[in-house]
Structures are given as C-alpha cells and as structure tokens.
Amino acid sequence: MTPETRGPAIGEAQSAERTSGGNLLEVTDLTIDFVSIDGRVRILNGISLYAKKGEVVGIVGESGSGKTTLGLAILGLLDSPPAEFVSGSIVFEGKDVLRLKEGELQNIRGTGINMVFQEPLDSLNPVYTIETQIGEALKVQRKRGDGTPAKEIEGESKEEMTQLLRTLCIDKPEEVLERYPHELSGGMRQRVAISISTIEKPRLMISDEPTTGLDAYVQNRILGMFSAQRKSGETLLYITHDLTIASQICDRIYIMYAGRVMEAGGTRSVLQNPVHPYTSTLVASVPQGFEDAPPLAVQLGEPPDLRNLPTGCKFNSRCPYAKDICREEEPRLEEVLPGRYAACWRVNKTNGEFG
C-alpha cells in the first residue's frame, strides 16, 4: 500500500496567526505513518495546530482519529518503529521535539510537557505507594526548579502532598498516600494520576480522555480541577471524544477525523454553528430530550478504516451531502469565517455558508 499524497496544508490566515508569536506549542503539517509487515498506514495526515500560553485547546474525535497518537507524538513518546515521521514539526517553546535527542526530551517531559492518560492503572506503578509516586514527581520538579537536592525535600514534601490531595477533595489524604494504586477507586486513581502531573507544574499539560467512563460526579471533580488550573495560567491540551466535556472547558477545539483536522475554531462558535457535516453529526449524536424525542440524527456506517480510506474527502462515505468533487479531491483546511477553519468542499469560502 502506498502512502497517499500530502494532506491539506494550512490556510494562509492560519499561518499568519501562528507566526504572530506567543505560541507555546506549534504543530505544523505533522504526518505520521505506522509501518508494519501488513504495510504502511497513515495515522496523522498534515495536522497543524497551535496552543497559546494559558489556553485550553480541545482535540475532539472518535476512536481511530489519531487523537492519542498526536498527544504521544508531542511528548516524543511514539516508538519508531512502528511510527515513522514523514513530515512536519512539533515546536514547543522554540524547540522541535521531533529533532531533540532522548536526553533533551527527558528534560522537557514532566516539567515542560506532561500527559495524563485515559487509564490510570496503566500509568501508575502498581508496586509503589502513592506517596512514593507523587514524591518522585515532586523531586523532579524541585530539582529542575531551584536545584534542591533530593534529600532536603523529604521533610516538607509530605505536607505538600497531603495539601495537594486535599485540594483534589480526596478524603483522608494521609491514608491515601500510604496506599497502592489497586486499592483506590477509579475516580480516585485518576485524580492521583493528575496530581502527579500537576505537582510538576508543567508548562503544557496534555490530558487524554481523563474522564471517560467515570460518573458525573467524578467528571465534575476532575474538570473542576482542570478549570482551576486554567485560572492559574496553565496551558492544557484536552483530548476527548465527548463534545459535552469539550464544550465545558475548551477555549478552542479541533475536530479530527481519520488523522486530519476537519474543523477548528472557538468552542462555542464551532458547537453552536458547525459548518462541517462531520461536526454537525457529532453534535446531533449527543442525546437530548426525553423518551418521546425523535431518533438521533446520525450518519450510517462505522468509523473509518485507516487502511482503506476513500479517495477524496475521507468523510465522504458517511456524509449525506457528498457530491462528485468530494469523492475525487481532498478539501484543504481553509478559513471560512473569521477564526473558523473547515475542510469541506461544500462550505462557501467567503461567507461560511453550507451549500
């Protein structure tokens, strides 16, 4: 299987905005393939995005849209092989993450960029107590912050850790510190995992579906924590498939599909007035109303198979509005309204009208 031609490039206006400076993170035209004995699969295709300092940026998409791969790539955690960087750059604070040596990357991880994963059981070490694990992160933070040697931290660290857990509304933090990950409930574990990330005070936090599968209360607790962090000026890249959550905490969102950005813009504006048919179907899929409400308006078909994508717009097989050009040529991500970008042939480039 041969890789497809280069994906859509970013629009003029967006590049102008990007180069205006002040961006903590800039991803430009990122293309990543996964290579295996079965062939080559393009996981990300020409992704461009940026995050300004203090912003909460949402990456929204279904399974297989490449959200997590993007997060891992920014952190320099993708193994190569199977991953192969075809083109593009990921610039964090002026340094291209893709071209850094492992040692330099290690210095950025933790206090520079930090990531919270979906499944805390996989990211916490099962054989160490919570105290050891938070303590480890605290030591890294101190060492890089003011060069405090590890020994001097011991005394005061416990106080700081209980304080942190208390702000996350964990009951009896002293007891929790002595426990092992398997002894905690799912929501508690996730909050501990987040506390390990926050104690390092990262300049960019990536969180990958941290509240998926958790109930409303736990979700609220975790999201409340993130919005508190936003107030303190932390930059957050929030990866989720849940539009409801994205609508609550993100300033801007990128809608991803099959490794491409389909639509981008301010959260409120995108969700209230989606221009791309894919975004519209996502919005229409959120259950609303009571039992007597009409059936949910959703497109037919399954999520895309990355090994076997249609030619042209990758959404055309599920799109109710697809016309000939959609099956022939892939649309580029272009500015359709001020601050709003969409990759769709049927959106009028001058007034953002769909037609």
Partner: protein, 340 residues
C-alpha cells in the same frame, strides 16, 4: 398496567466470609439494601447512580448471576426461587442481558454465528432446523450484516460487538432486556446509532428494558421511569421528566445539577467532596446539606403523587410540621456541595 417485574425489599450482601481480623468476620457489605421497584410491560426503566451504587448488582440478580440475600423477585407474576433450577431457567428464558464491555463479554474463540447459536442451544426453545432463520431475522433487526457472521469478535469494531451482544441476548425472544451501561464504551456517533436501534427494537419485539447507566443525558433520552440509587439504596423513583425537572431528594437534586450538557456552560468551580455513605440511617446524611436528627433513622418512602416516590424525611411530615422542618434545615433550597 400489569407489571412484568416486581422486586420487593431486595437485599444483596457480599463478603460475609471475609475476615476483618483472624477471629472476627467482616460485616457484610450491602450492595443493595431493601430495594423495591417494578418494571411495567413495554416500559423502559432507567436506573442511575454513581460508581459503586449497586446498579450492576441489580442487573446480575435479574439474570441469576447473583442470588438475593433477602427479598423477592417476581417475573411475569412468578416468584423466583433462586435455588430452584427450573425457576432460574425460567428467569433466563425471559430476561436477557447486555454488558458494558463487549470485548470481555464475547467469547474470543467463537465466530459471531457461533456466539449467537450458543444462546439458542442453551435455551432449547426452537428446533435446530429453524436456527438459521431465527439468526437471520435477529441479526437483520439489530443491524449485524451477513458478512460479520463468520468473523470473530476481535475483527469487529466496538459498535459491531455491542450489536452482536444484543443479537445474542435477543435471539431467544425475551420479555425483559437488561442493558448494563450498553453504550459507555462506544463513541458518540456509534452510541447514537445503538440508542436508535434499541428504541426501534423495543417497539418491534414487544419487550421492556432495564437501562442502567451513569450518563444522565442517555438515561433521560431512553427511559420512561427513572430510579436513583445511592450506595445500595433507592432514593427516588418517578416519571423521568418529573424526576429530571423537579428532583426532590437532595441527592437527586445534586446529581441532576452536576450533569453537563452541550449547550450551556455550568461547570462548577468548586471540587465536590467524596461521598461517604452513612452506615446507619439515611445513607446520604453525611454529605446532605439538609440533614436533621430524624435522618439517623432509615427514611420511609413518601408518595408525592403520580408515581413519584422519594425516600427522604424532608417530605415525610404532617401539614403542621412543614414550616418547622424547613426552618430547621434552612429551607428547601438546592443543596450545595460543601468543600471539605
């Protein structure tokens, strides 16, 4: 309306064999405590609550994967004796279940056709020569296409697996389908498709649903009546619309106010404290902002009319006492979560 399922004073305890110390047994954990509810014919009963509230325990009792410690379960008027194999068979003949995790609930070594056939073999309800006809009928109905039949679960997507689970549950006609978080593991667009299929199936196959999920937006969309569980106790039951718009129990009020919706921003900045259930009296009283002395006793059910029941002393009063109660508790305001 005649009731399909009648559950009365159902209690399920676990762990009485566990030892707290060498010589003393740990007190049993009541996963469900004195739960009574009914499910009508052609009705979707929604059951919601936090993680650990006992939702799945109730689901498993209805298919005899757990036995009740006390209380009774009636299905189609027949009281189920969980020790009697015939009763258990009767229960499983009439009640199907779909689990949350379609990966772990399907046998990875069997093909889709074999998975569905297994259910037919176990029930012995129709002759073998009619199997393929029945399988064709049900797979078409739930949206499993023919080309999926020879595949194995790992070759399917999450939505397809959940449809196979549905087909397996329904290939033998059921009166009640228990859906335990059927869409929690799915993407939003796939969840929407499965919800649409479920609604369509219910009218075509003439059955009732017990729909269990922690997602209030989903449960509102599918259920006629709603029950709210808090640590093993049912605290409020009623018409979904009534419970959603006029929740009465302080816990339900708090739960509904924490549901995130797409169109408004209502994220609360304060982080909510952990819910510790009270071992005695009303389980919610430790965190309840309206708790008063009477809450030390187990609350009784109060009928608010129209099938809306609430298990809370706030509403259990004679006409003269109302002012007194409200004065004591600071009025019937929306409870706020207090920081620790």
């Amino acid at each position: 309306m005649e009731n399909l399922v009648e559950i009365e004073h159902l209690t399920v305890s676990f762990g009485s064999k566990r030892r707290a110390t060498l010589f003393r047994k740990a007190p049993p954990l009541k996963a469900l405590d004195d739960v009574s509810l009914t499910i009508g014919k052609n009705e979707t009963f929604g059951l919601t609550g936090e993680t650990g509230s006992g939702k799945s325990t109730l689901a498993k009792v209805l298919v005899a994967l757990y036995k009740p410690t006390s209380g009774s379960v009636r299905v189609l008027g027949r009281k189920i004796d969980y020790k009697n194999r015939k009763d258990v068979a009767f229960l499983r003949q009439n009640v199907g279940i779909v689990f949350q995790d379609p990966v772990r609930s399907l046998n990875p070594t069997l093909t889709v056709r074999e998975i569905i056939t297994e259910a037919l073999l176990a029930s012995k309800s129709i002759p073998k020569k009619d199997y393929s006809e029945r399988i064709d009928f049900i797979t078409k109905l739930v949206g499993v296409t023919r080309d999926l039949l020879p595949r194995r679960p790992r070759e399917l997507s999450g939505g397809q697996r959940q449809r196979v689970s549905l087909a397996r549950a329904l290939v033998v006609p059921k009166k009640l389908l228990v859906l335990d978080e059927p869409t929690s593991a799915l993407d939003v667009s796939i969840q929407a498709q499965v919800l649409n299929t479920l609604k369509k199936l219910k009218s075509e196959l003439d059955m009732s649903y017990l729909f269990i999920t922690h997602d209030i937006n989903v449960i509102k969309y599918v259920s006629h009546r709603l029950g709210v569980l808090f640590y093993g106790r049912l605290v409020e039951v009623g018409d979904t619309r009534t419970v959603d718009t006029e929740p009465k129990h302080p816990y339900t009020q708090s739960l509904i106010s924490h549901v995130l919706t797409l169109r408004q921003v209502q994220l609360q900045e304060t982080v909510i404290s952990e819910h510790r259930p009270s071992p005695t009296g009303c389980r919610y009283r430790i965190v309840c902002p309206s708790a008063f002395e009477r809450c030390g006793q187990v609350p009784t059910w109060v009928d608010l009319g129209g099938g809306h029941l609430v298990s809370c002393f706030l509403y259990d009063h004679g006409p003269g006492e109302l002012a007194e109660v409200l004065a004591q508790t600071g009025g019937g305001q929306q409870p706020k979560d207090r920081p620790l």
